[in-house]
């Protein structure tokens, strides 16, 4: 079992008011699952993603990642788990504008204290995986949206994380480019990665082979679709062998 959530709640205090963002979520995720988390805004999907991504800890309940209880870790311990186990892909890419694509991808390796000599090798291998070797020296503002998201994916992959967490990864892309990015995820899934996708688009969610729907901080449904596990069209050049 990769991820095990048991009765996870998250209560935010906004002024004097308490907001129940998660009302007791129990969930388990196996290695190499491809999951979409769906729900209207305010349903708690962002909070759930933050908890799974170790950006936040539950108010109550238990979250075990690879058998380790995350709930009682401090800031720096959470940072180390994020560094080793989680790869984030954001809707707005969140690349650092002053760095080249190569440097952006390399950054998590620097935080995980990878040796300088092995870093370049690993950066090149993930850049190849997303098909951007020839764009390595470009800065984000010299890249297209799709290319930026590929750089972000490469950055998420660089530490070989247990989970890739993608929050609306196609939200800022046109549908054609969005589809290309989904192909990249498809390829990553086939290569053995665990992917959790947060989206409110049905057609994006359909790429996953398990869809979890949230409503008012609770799981409304949790369905597996056998059909989605095999891609409907050939994977592009971005696929890893």
């Amino acid at each position: 079992m990769l991820i095990q959530l048991e009765g996870v709640t998250k209560i935010y205090e906004v002024g004097t008011e308490k907001v129940n963002a998660l009302g007791g979520v129990s969930l388990s995720i196996e290695k190499n699952e491809y999951i979409a988390i769906m729900g209207p805004s305010g349903s708690g999907k962002s909070t759930l993603m933050n908890v799974i991504g170790c950006l936040d800890t539950p108010t109550s309940g238990s979250y075990c990642l690879k058998g380790q209880e995350v709930g009682d870790l401090d800031d720096d311990e959470l940072a180390e788990i994020r560094s080793a186990e989680i790869g984030f892909v954001f809707q707005t890419f969140n690349l650092l504008p002053r760095m080249t694509a190569f440097q952006n991808v390399e950054l998590p390796l620097i935080y995980s204290k990878a040796h300088r000599r092995t870093r370049a090798e690993r950066v090149w291998s993930v850049m190849d995986a997303v098909g951007l070797r020839d764009r390595a020296k470009h800065r984000p503002n010299e890249l297209s949206g799709g290319q930026r998201q590929r750089v972000a994916i490469a950055r998420a992959l660089i530490n070989a994380p247990s989970i890739i967490l993608a929050d609306e990864p196609t939200g800022n892309l046109d549908s054609g480019t969005g589809e290309e990015i989904m192909q990249v995820f498809e390829g990553l899934h086939k290569a053995g990665n665990t992917i959790i996708l947060v989206t409110h688009e049905e057609y994006i969610a359909e790429h996953a082979n398990r869809i979890i729907r949230l409503h008012d901080g609770l799981i409304a449904s949790d369905e597996r679709s056998a059909g989605a596990s095999s891609p409907t069209r050939p994977v592009g050049s971005t696929e890893r062998a």
């Binding site: 933050n50 950006l55 800031d75 720096d76 940072a79 969140n94 760095m99 935080y111």
Partner: protein, 403 residues
């Protein structure tokens, strides 16, 4: 995060805000620059003053009515008993004392031919004065014992006197007027330079006895002497003090009513003066660096706010608090270190300019540079720490959703 990476990333950030970085550095540049410049000037001043003090003679003990450096009530000095030639003889008989030269001074007009000079320092003394007070004769000879015994109307003249009164003529053997009395020039002194802007070369020296006869014998005598060979300064001074207190009947509980001057005293009071200068300068520099530091803090806080999202991203991909904190701290330290380096360069350049363009041998010492470096780095750390800690403590979720 490796230091090298943090460093490179900090340079990149500062480089992308060149104008802002430069303006922020200005305060530090001015602070470090003025520190180095002023310290270099003081070092130069020290060097030239030390050279001037050397001209007085390093092992001279000068017993006199007035201290060289006067403090407090000058009436008290004026009412003191004179020091006499008998005091000088008594000092000369001390076993711890070597050479002794009693000397007396006045200012008189002097002239030769059509040329004249006003208020020139006239000294009456004995042959030992040449050695004790570090005079050397350029041509002719100094006063001899014979001149003193015979009260001869002879004079040894300073180089400025030679130049102004005689011009290109050879003064030796010429008859000149000092205070309306005729003297034959027997020697010309080597140039001695200035002390605190006062020329030591506008000076004429006559035999002690001749002086008393020509200009009066009631003046208080100054007794210049040296310790005997192998006797430490301090012991010679103690012996003189004990002797003089007995001779002048100073009660046990009263301070000396005479002064024992040494070059060391002069140096000490000079150091006191420069000490005040250093103190004032430290205040100014501290103020400049405080202002600079506040500028640094302000810019770093702006930078943290501007880059909130970046901080969120860095944290999401694995940066710990200290990674973020050290990144911002290093940025502020680079900012002040760079400002410090530029300031040091500017200050040293200014000192070099002074050295080349003026007689003051301004010199930038390694100590001044080290101090400026230390001040700059400390400013960077002190004023960078708060913004850096704030950056490190940012909540990644809030930071990521920051617009």
């Amino acid at each position: 995060m490796e230091l090298r990476e943090t460093f490179l990333s900090a340079l990149r950030t500062l480089g992308s805000h060149k104008m802002r970085s430069a303006l922020t550095m200005l305060g530090i540049i001015i602070g470090a620059g003025s520190l180095v410049a002023v310290m270099s000037l003081i070092a130069g001043l020290n060097q030239s003053v030390t050279a001037q003090f050397q001209s007085v003679g390093t092992d001279i003990i000068s017993v006199s009515h007035f201290p060289w450096v006067q403090m407090g009530d000058s009436d008290e000095y004026r009412n003191r008993k004179r020091i006499t030639i008998h005091d000088s003889d008594a000092i000369a008989s001390l076993p711890s004392i070597g050479l002794v030269a009693p000397n007396i001074h006045t200012r008189r007009g002097i002239s030769y031919g059509g040329e004249s000079m006003r208020r020139v320092r006239v000294s009456g003394t004995t042959p030992e004065y040449e050695t004790i007070d570090n005079y050397s004769v350029e041509s002719g000879r100094f006063i001899t014992q014979f001149d003193v015994e015979r009260r001869r109307q002879v004079v040894v003249i300073g180089s400025d006197v030679s130049e102004k009164l005689f011009g290109f003529r050879d003064p030796l053997g010429k008859n000149m007027q000092i205070g309306g009395k005729g003297f034959v020039v027997i020697g010309i002194l080597d140039e001695k330079g200035d002390i605190f802007g006062d020329s030591l070369d506008e000076h004429v020296i006559v035999p002690f006895t001749t002086f008393r006869k020509a200009f009066g014998s009631r003046r208080s005598v100054v007794v210049d002497c040296q310790p005997a060979a192998g006797v430490p300064m301090a012991r010679a001074i103690d012996d003189i003090r004990a002797l003089m207190r007995i001779r002048r009947q100073v009660p046990r509980d009263k301070p000396d009513d005479f002064a024992i001057n040494t070059q060391e005293d002069l140096t000490a009071s000079y150091k006191q003066l420069t000490g005040v200068l250093y103190f004032a300068m430290t205040g100014i520099v501290a103020l400049a660096l405080l202002v600079g530091g506040i500028g640094v803090m302000n810019v770093m806080l702006v930078s943290v706010a501007e880059r909130t999202r970046e901080i969120g991203v860095r944290k999401a991909i694995g940066a710990r608090r200290r990674d973020v904190t050290s990144q911002f701290l290093i940025e502020s330290v680079i900012l002040t270190a760079l400002g410090g380096a530029l300031g040091i360069g500017g200050g040293a350049g200014l000192a070099l300019l002074v050295r080349v363009a003026t007689p003051l041998p301004a010199a930038t010492t390694p100590g001044a540079v080290a101090l400026a470096v230390a001040f700059s780095l400390i400013t960077g750390i002190v004023f960078g720490v708060y913004p850096a800690i704030r950056a490190g403590r940012l909540n990644p979720i809030q930071a990521l959703s920051y617009e």
